[in-house]
Amino acid sequence: MEFGLSQDQLMLGDSVRKFLASEVPLDTVRQLAAGESDDSSVWQGLADMGLAGLIIPEAHGGAELGMLDAVAIAEALGYAACPGPFLSTAIMSAYLLNAAGATDPLTRMASGEYRVGIAFSDVIGSRKGQVTEADSKLTGQSLFALDATADAYLIGLSDGRVFMIEASELTRSSLSTIDVTQSVCELSFDQSPACHVSSSSELVWQTIHRGRAIQAADTLGAAQYMLDQAVAYSLDRKQFNRVIGSFQAVKHMCAEMASQLEPCRAFAWYAGHAFDESTDEAALTACHAKAHMAEVGQFIAKTSTEVHGGMGFTDLVGLHYWFKRIGFNRQLLGSPEAVRHEAAELEGLC
């Protein structure tokens, strides 16, 4: 019996953390925020480490690892507020395409040269005019598609069917959100030719739940960063002749953050593991992990900023990029309220 990451998983996480610490410093995020660069070189770097092909079968050039490995990596990516389409291309699209037997793009995805974004809003909860299909041609709009610079997109229709469409066949406009590290866009289709990938509603939901488990781990990492920074800042910053970390109020704020956050680590691990073992409660666990981590993350994002005082509010320490990443993960792929409602449905409570 061993609950936790294996030696290999720990080493994988460590190597990603080291890479990110040296190759994706805060400046990278700032350049992205200033529109001076995009996430392509970061993504190529991650792909070179094998992250783009993480769960892709070896036969298609991937590492054929599991969701628990992915969780360990997502935590590291969140900790660094690392840009790039790990969630969309490396997890959601790779999983869905492979499971649907549409394996053609996988090799190029594993190498990092081909990015497949995700447009599943119609599945999760549609806002306005849904995307419709006739004769393998799509018409309509898809909001908040993941990855504004993908080469192709998987479009989830409200009936659970999934189509793939090349970026060249649609109109795309990037959408600004609070979080510059995770790009989204609006897609417009007008009789745009698309390729049928799957008709399994079950598959599209399995994909979404995997995405949610990854989001939970990403928020875990981002929140851990914010807690670590809060403790470090409180031990450095002096007011009233004392480091502020010696005030009981500040100590208790940090203790409350740690108390909420620490159990989330085991939770995120289990959420990954449940998919690897295909346990019955994998979907339910992913919903709960995503919703719970969203709430804990929000508390920590606010509290860590408060511990930093005015500095937390400025761009000087850059803490707000993590604050916003946590906020982004909260709303995308289902708000906490929506996901808890799904959890209740999965349990047959409503």
């Binding site: 806002r127 609070i178 007011q239 005030f247 005082g309 005015g310 400025t314 761009d315 803490l319 309220e337």
Partner: protein, 407 residues
């Protein structure tokens, strides 16, 4: 309990309404800056009719009326109801003017009050420093007397409107050997004095709402001090009281809550308006209860200004803490009900309310921190409001060293 203002004020209210009807076309337009002629003209017009600087003596450029809280309230209500510009309200107007009138020399009053209230002289505030935030009295920006001039070196932070300001009112350490609260002086000087550098301070909203201001051998005439040397702390504290109350008004919170209601009616998911989601509706109602509590608390505070026998010390003390947290949570609900659309920011075409929800969510986190963090507020409430003991004093390193040396 009598919530009417009394019939004697009905005429006054009519007067205000009539002014607004006939003059509101003259108010500054959204693009007009604080230094525009439109702003100055509007400001003069307001003062002339007693709707700004109402109780400031006419010899200093004000309207010269007796203080009347109800009249002030009526003005605020009517301008608010019609969404008409209330006039320029910078820190020179709200913070410096009261202190000059109380502690300035006659010369200073004559020189500064009128141009300040008429928006001809824009001020910024130089209090906080990177190492002196909650513990403001630890500030280290120093001013040394060299002949007839102060020579200032150091750095200020959180200086809003520094780039527009003509002048700064600034706390500096002039008596390095005095106990820390007694070594501070309150200086006034021009922002174009050589040696001043302004760096915009971008914050989490993406805007530069504040600045850092650096002083290198800035030379200031000796007489540009308010109060005596070493009295700066008392001078500043007289003003700080003015600042804190205005950060979180319950009426603004109720406006925002109504904004959330509109959002919940207008936004739909899978064809259902968000308002039909009982979980969000319950959160909305919970927040409404809290806003109502703050609105009635505010009426109680107003009442105590008019009826001198009412004790509202605690009721006033909790406003900043409770109001800013409440507002932050209202903005959060606004974001949450929109789902992914709630993430929109900047030039996103799907923004609701010009992106105000995320902006205000962050800005109010800033206000929770600024003007006395929630932790400082709780110290104040427990100590001054509930009579609990102060934090035990920890000997400063300096005095610890000192006593070590003496021993």
């Amino acid at each position: 309990m009598d919530l009417s203002y009394g019939s004697e004020y009905d005429a006054f209210r009519e007067e205000v309404k009539s002014f607004i009807r006939s003059h509101k076309h003259k108010q500054p337009k959204p693009g007009d800056g604080i230094k525009s002629q439109a702003m100055r003209d509007w400001q003069s017009l307001l003062i002339e009719h007693g709707y700004h600087s109402r109780t400031i003596a006419s010899e200093y450029g004000g309207y010269g009326a007796e203080p009347d809280i109800i009249k002030s309230r009526i003005i605020a209500e009517e301008f608010g109801a019609e969404r008409v510009h209330r006039g320029f309200d910078g820190q020179g107007v709200t913070m410096l003017t009261p202190v000059l009138l109380e502690m300035g020399t006659e010369e200073q009053k004559r020189a500064f009050v009128e141009p300040t209230i008429k928006a001809e002289m824009i001020w910024c505030q130089g209090y906080s420093e990177p190492g002196a935030g909650s513990d403001l009295a630890s500030l280290t920006t120093k001013a040394e007397l060299d002949g007839d001039e102060w020579v200032i070196n150091g750095q200020k932070i959180w200086t809003s409107t520094a780039h527009h300001a003509d002048w700064i009112f600034c706390l500096v350490r002039t008596e390095p050997d005095a106990p820390k609260h007694l070594g501070i002086s309150f200086l006034l000087f021009r922002m174009d004095t050589p040696g001043i550098e302004i760096r915009p301070l971008v914050d989490m909203t993406g805007d530069a709402n504040f600045n850092e201001v650096f002083f290198t051998d800035v030379r200031v005439p000796k007489h540009q001090i308010v109060g005596q040397r070493g009295q700066g702390w008392q001078v500043a504290n007289a003003i700080l009281g003015h600042e804190r109350g205005s950060l979180a008004t319950p009426d603004a919170a109720m406006n925002r809550l109504h904004g959330v209601k509109r959002l919940m009616r207008e936004e739909s998911i899978n064809g259902e308006p968000i308002m039909s989601n009982p979980v969000f509706r319950d959160r909305l109602m919970k927040l409404e209860g809290r806003v109502l509590a703050m609105q009635y608390n505010d009426m109680r505070l107003l009442s105590a200004k008019i009826n001198k026998n009412q004790d509202v010390r605690l009721a006033g003390m909790i406003v900043k803490l409770t109001g800013t947290e409440l507002r932050h949570e209202i903005e959060c609900l606004g974001i949450d009900v929109m789902g992914e659309i709630g993430l929109s920011y900047g030039d996103n075409p799907h923004l609701r309310g010009h992106g105000s929800w995320q902006y205000q969510y962050m800005f109010y986190l800033g206000l929770i921190i600024g003007g006395g963090t929630s932790q400082i507020q709780k110290n104040i409430i427990s100590e001054r409001g509930l009579g609990m003991p102060k934090e035990p004093k920890i000997p400063s390193e300096k005095s610890a060293e000192k006593s070590a040396k003496e021993a």
